[in-house]
C-alpha cells in the first residue's frame, strides 16, 4: 500500500537550513568573522595613530624617570623614581584605603543593620534615616562633601582642635602621636605573633575537649589575655622601648606626629559611610532571613539569648550575608578610584598621570584594568574561603 511505502521511507529531515546545529555554526562563524574584521581594523587604526603621534609602544616606559611628585608615599618615592614605582605607590595607596574602608564600613554597617531591627523605635528610625540618606546619593558627592564641605572649612593649624591623646584636627588633616620603636621592640611583635598562635591553639584544644567531654573553657578571655598580655609583658621585659612622638604646635604648622591628609581622610570616611548603608541592608536581610522557628527552638533547648544569637542566628545569617557582602567589598575597592577627583594618589590617579605624560594610553589602561581585576579576584578568593567555612555542610 502506498501509505506503507511512505512510512518505510527515510524520515524527512527538512531543509538543512532549519537544522539548529547548522544554524548555530553559521551564526558563530558570522560572529567570529565580524569580530576578527573589526579587531583587525581597530589594531590597524591604533598602529597608524600611534605612528602618526610618534608614541612608542611596549612596557619599556615603566623604567623611565617619573618626574612628578606624589603626596602620599607609603614606600620610598621621589620624582626621580621610575614610572613603574609610581604605579606601585598608587596601587599600595588603593589597597590601604580599600582595606581601611572595608573594615570601617563593615563595623558601621553591622551596627546600623542590627540597629534597624532593634525593638527600640528611636534607634531603628535613626538607622533607617541613615541608610535612606546614604543609599540615594552618589559616592562622589559624599567625598566632595567631606572634602570641601567639612574638612576644608576646619580651622587653620594655629587654631587646631585639640583632641584626646595628644591628637589634633585642622584643615591640613588629622595629627596623632607616632609610635617610635626603640631598641628591642621586635620582641613585642614576636610576642604578639606568639600570642595569636597560642590563642588559636587554645581555641582548638578547647573545642576538642568540649566535643569530647562537654566541658567548656573560657576561650575568649584566655585569647584576650594571650594577645594583649604577652606583648605587654614583652614591652616590660625589654625595658619599655616604645615611646611616642607627639605633634607639637608651632606658629604656622604642627610638627612631628603622624599626619593623615584630608584627601585620604575624606575618601576613607566617604567610602565607609556610603558602603556602610548597603552593608546595613544586607545584614538586615540576613538576620531577617533566619526563620523565627530557629530562635524559638533554640530558646526551647534552654539557650540564653546571647548564646542563641552567637550559636544559632549569626551562623545562619552569615550564610545569607557573605555573598552580597563580598560584592560590596568589591564595589568599595572599585569606588576608591574616585580618589582622583580630590587628588588622593591612588592607582587610577598615578596611572592616569603616567598615561598623560608618556601618551601610552593602551598600556596605561591595560595596567589599570589588570590591577583592579587582580584586586577583585584576590578579594573574591578570600571571601570564598570565608564563605566555604560558613556554608551548610550537607551530605
Amino acid at each position: 500500500m502506498a501509505s506503507q511505502e511512505v512510512l518505510r521511507e527515510e524520515p524527512s529531515r527538512g531543509s538543512f537550513i532549519n537544522d539548529p546545529r547548522v544554524r548555530g555554526i553559521f551564526y558563530q562563524a558570522v560572529v567570529v568573522i565580524v569580530l576578527v574584521v573589526s579587531v583587525w581594523w581597530i589594531v590597524q587604526n591604533v598602529i597608524d595613530n600611534l605612528q602618526r603621534l610618534h608614541i612608542a609602544s611596549g612596557f619599556g616606559f615603566l623604567n623611565g624617570r617619573a618626574g612628578f611628585d606624589i603626596s602620599d608615599t607609603p614606600i620610598a618615592y621621589t620624582s626621580d623614581s621610575t614610572y613603574g614605582r609610581a604605579i606601585i605607590v598608587g596601587l599600595i595607596n588603593t589597597i590601604i584605603v580599600a582595606v581601611a574602608g572595608i573594615i570601617t564600613a563593615t563595623l558601621i554597617g553591622f551596627i546600623v543593620g542590627i540597629g534597624r531591627l532593634s525593638k527600640n523605635w528611636l534607634i531603628s528610625k535613626i538607622c533607617t534615616v541613615y541608610v535612606e540618606i546614604f543609599r540615594n546619593i552618589p559616592p562622589l558627592l559624599v567625598i566632595f562633601f567631606w572634602y570641601s564641605g567639612v574638612l576644608a572649612v576646619l580651622p587653620a593649624p594655629r587654631d587646631s582642635y585639640n583632641l584626646p591623646f595628644g591628637s589634633y584636627l585642622n584643615q591640613r588633616g588629622f595629627y596623632f602621636p607616632r609610635p617610635v620603636w626603640g631598641e628591642g621592640s621586635w620582641l613585642i611583635l614576636v610576642a604578639f605573633v606568639v600570642g595569636i598562635a597560642m590563642a588559636w591553639f587554645v581555641a582548638r584544644k578547647a573545642r576538642q575537649r568540649q566535643m569530647a567531654t562537654g566541658q567548656q573553657f573560657p576561650v575568649f578571655w584566655t585569647s584576650v589575655a594571650l594577645i594583649v598580655g604577652l606583648p605587654l609583658l614583652a614591652y616590660a621585659l625589654s625595658g619599655f622601648p616604645l615611646s611616642f612622638d607627639f605633634p607639637k604646635q608651632s606658629t604656622f604648622n604642627l610638627t612631628g606626629g603622624f599626619q593623615v591628609k584630608p584627601e585620604f581622610l575624606s575618601l576613607y570616611l566617604a567610602l565607609s559611610c556610603y558602603t556602610a548603608a548597603f552593608i546595613a541592608e544586607i545584614v538586615r536581610a540576613g538576620i531577617r532571613g533566619v526563620s523565627k522557628g530557629q530562635t524559638e527552638a533554640a530558646a526551647a533547648l534552654g539557650l540564653r539569648s546571647g548564646s542563641i544569637l552567637r550559636l544559632v542566628v549569626v551562623p545562619q545569617a552569615m550564610r545569607i550575608v557573605i555573598p552580597p557582602l563580598t560584592s560590596q567589598y568589591l564595589n568599595l575597592t572599585k569606588n576608591s578610584s574616585l580618589a582622583i577627583a580630590i587628588g588622593y594618589p591612588d592607582l587610577t590617579a598615578t596611572a592616569g598621570t603616567v598615561l598623560n605624560q608618556t601618551g601610552q594610553a593602551v598600556e596605561g589602561v591595560l595596567i589599570m584594568m589588570v590591577a583592579y581585576l587582580i584586586l577583585s579576584l584576590v578579594t573574591s578568593a578570600v571571601m570564598n574561603v570565608v564563605n566555604a567555612r560558613m556554608a551548610l555542610v550537607e551530605r
Partner: protein, 385 residues
Amino acid sequence: MQEHDMSWVRTEMALAEPAPASVRGLGAWVRQNLIGSVGDAILTVIGIALVIMILPQVINWAFINAQWTGPDRTVCATVAQGGIQPDGWSGACWAFVNAKFGQFMFGTYPVEERWRPILVAILFVALLVPMLVPRVPRKGLNAILLFLVLPIVSFVLLIGGMFGLPHVETSRWGGLLVTLSLSFVGIAVSLPLGTVLALGRRSKMPIVKMLCIIFIEAVRGIPLITVLFFVSVMLPLFLPAGVSFDKYLRALIGVSLFAAAYMAEVVRGGLQAIPKGQYEGADSLGLGYWQKMGLIVLPQALKLVIPGIVNTFIGMFKDTSLVIIISMFDLLGVVKQNFSDANWATPQTARSGLIFAAFVFWLFCFGMSRYSMYTERRLDTGHKR
C-alpha cells in the same frame, strides 16, 4: 414544663473592658518601644542625645540662619570674612544656589535657548507619568512615544541646527540636563543590551557564550572611571585619523556599556529562576528561539528581577556623576565648578551647593526605589518562594 425565671440572666453582652492602662496609650508605647529594658533605655538616651546634638544644629543651619537671596558673597560671609553677618554666624547659603540655579539645571546652555530643554522636560514628564500609572490605557503607544519618538524629538530640540533652531554644541550642555539625559539614554540602551548579553551568556553556542562572559566579567571587574578613561582615551585611537567623537557621546557609550554588563547579570538571575518546564513547554509548542524567549521566558524573568533592574538604574543614575573625571559637567560637576567663583566663595558655599545637589540626587533615587517597591507588590503573582 416548668417556667424558669430568667430575669437574672443578662440579655445583652457586657461591654468590652478597656485594655489595662499599662498596655495602652502613649505611656505603654513608650514603655514598649523606648524603655523596654535597661539596655533599651540606655540606647534611647543615647539616641535622644544624638538627635538633640544634631537636629537643632541642622535646622538652625539649613533654615533659621540660612540666607535665601542675595547679590553676592557678602550675605553669606561674616564680618571677618568680608561680609555682613555677625562673627560666629553659620548658616546655609541658599542665595548661592538661587543665583546659580539656571546653571545647575542647564550648564552653559544659551539662556535664550533654555526653553528647549524645558520643553523636552515637559514632554518627558507628560509621557513618563501615564507610563508609570498602571491604570492609564494604551501602554504600547505610550512606550513607542517615550522610547522611540521622544529621544528623536529631544535630540532635534536639544542639538538644534535644523528647523531654524540654532545649533548648541554638547560641550555647552551641563547640570541636571546632562545627568538626566545621560541616565535616560543609558537606561534605554542598557536594558535591551543587557538582556541580549544575558541571553548570550546562557546560549548553547560556545563562541557567543565565551565572548559574552569575557565582556561581562571584564567590565564588572573594573571601576567605571577606568571604563570612562578607556572610552575617552582609547576610542579616538581606535578610529581612523580625523574621525573624532563627541565627548558627550563617548561618556554615553562608556556609561551604557558599563550598566549593560551589570544589567546582564541581573537578567541572568531572572532567566535562571524560571523553571525548566517553561522552556520545555515553549519548545513543545513549536516556538522558535526568539518566540520562546520573547513570549514565554523574558516576560516572567524580567518581572522577577524588577528590584535588581531598578537598583541598576539607581546605580547608573548615581554613576553619571563620574563624568566629571573626563571633564564633563553634570549636576555635581557644575556645582563643584561654581565653588571657584570668587563672587561667591565663602566657607558655607561648598556645603550649601553640595547639599542642594545631594537633595536633587536623593529625590530621584528615592523616587525610583519607592516606585520599584510599588511595582513589585503590584506584579507579585506568588511566584516567589
